[in-house]
Amino acid sequence: MLYSLIEGTITTLAVSSASVAAGVPLGLCLALLRLSRVPVLKQCIAAYVSLIRAMPTVTLALFIFFGVPSLGIPLSPFVAGLLTICINTSAFQSEIWRAAIADFPRNQVEAAAAFGMSRQQTFRRVVLPQVWRASLPALFNETTFIIKSSPAIAVIGVVDLTRAASRVSAYTYEPILPYLCAAAIYATVVFILVTAQRQIERRIVIKYGVL
């Protein structure tokens, strides 16, 4: 029983962390395209992000798992699950980046321009390092959020922690214990993330004075 739960935990953590790792740069790209001056693409990205953010993760999972193969592209449940969480989080992370970039003080950008920096240089050397720190708390929130919405992939047959618990419960006839164990594991993971977030925020405040 414990073995299945551990296996499920590993799947949950692997899918979540892979999605966060892919979602951060993807979200940044989406945010930059949305803030760019390309006319039609900008609106398309805004609509896409808005739709994905409003769609429940389960619905998105079923959409990808059944919808994509119907277009002739075969997908295993695991890949479909990974894609689901990845697409879901990249939309949310693009909003985090967009808010952080929109809040960035204009005068710094103007000062950089006065020093003769190009738009790319300004972004890389002035905006990104500061925006990165400012969006860190939101990024951690999003990570805990991903872990809590990851059971959506259990619905399409990926054996994550939630599905592992329901399987164990089905063949041991234990109605409540496996779920309690799984709940304890989820709570521990979230607790670790929240503690890490506090630590990192504190260090940033000590080192830079502000978040």
Partner: protein, 220 residues
């Protein structure tokens, strides 16, 4: 593809039924959870340290567990204790318990940001107990927490999709049924997604209207 959309849309009564079920489940949850969360938030702010810590621990634990896991626990766990419930009751109970914890934490947060002088002054004017909450504290907390409560309401709508797993006929369940009948999954789930989009944006719009209304009233 257009033809497929037409085929999927020909099942509109099923979409509508699913949408209606999602709406009433979420609306009932929102109202009941908000009502229940106020006493819970009061306990979380009580003077007794042990009571405060215990309630905070329960709320934090519920908030850190995924909704689906809690739904499984209620749906499969309760019968083991001799409590037989149908899927709708189990689903609704799970939604309410889960979101009461969230709402309580939101209200506790808004409450702790309220200046203590407000309560002291009100007490000096003989406002106590329920009257103190209804006239002085409650309205201010609700206005301050409004946008966050609205976000949580959207989260309820999105969490309710998990209830398809315990065979509740909500929007995602309906869409899944339609796609198994018609074999047009791509179009069916896009329609479902758009319906969710409309639902979430209506909530957002409603909350922002309420906020404006509250601001205008307060300015007077």
């Amino acid at each position: 593809m257009i033809a497929n959309f037409e085929r999927a849309l020909s099942m509109w009564p099923d979409f509508l039924l699913g949408l209606m079920n999602t709406i009433w489940l979420c609306a009932v949850t929102g109202v009941v959870a908000l009502v229940l969360s106020i006493p819970l938030a009061t306990v979380m702010r009580s003077r007794s340290t042990s009571l405060r810590k215990a309630s905070q621990f329960v709320v934090d634990t519920i908030r850190s567990v995924p909704f689906l896991l809690l739904a499984y626990m209620v749906y499969y766990g309760l019968p083991a204790f001799g409590i037989r419930v149908d899927s709708i009751t189990a689903g609704l109970a799970t939604l309410i318990v889960y979101n009461t914890a969230y709402f309580a934490e939101i209200i506790r947060g808004a409450w702790s940001h309220l200046p203590p002088q407000q309560e002291e002054t009100a007490r000096a004017f003989c406002f106590t107990g329920t009257r103190l909450f209804v006239h002085i504290i409650g309205p201010q907390i609700l206005i301050a927490a409004g946008p966050v409560l609205g976000n949580q309401m959207i989260q309820i709508i999105k969490d309710s999709a998990f209830l398809m797993v315990i065979t509740i006929h909500e929007l995602t369940f309906a869409a899944n049924e339609i796609q198994t009948i018609l074999f047009v999954p791509f179009e069916t789930f896009i329609i479902a997604g758009l319906l969710y989009w409309v639902l979430c944006n209506s909530v957002e719009f409603g909350v922002s209207r309420l906020e404006r209304f509250a601001e205008v009233r307060r300015a007077k």
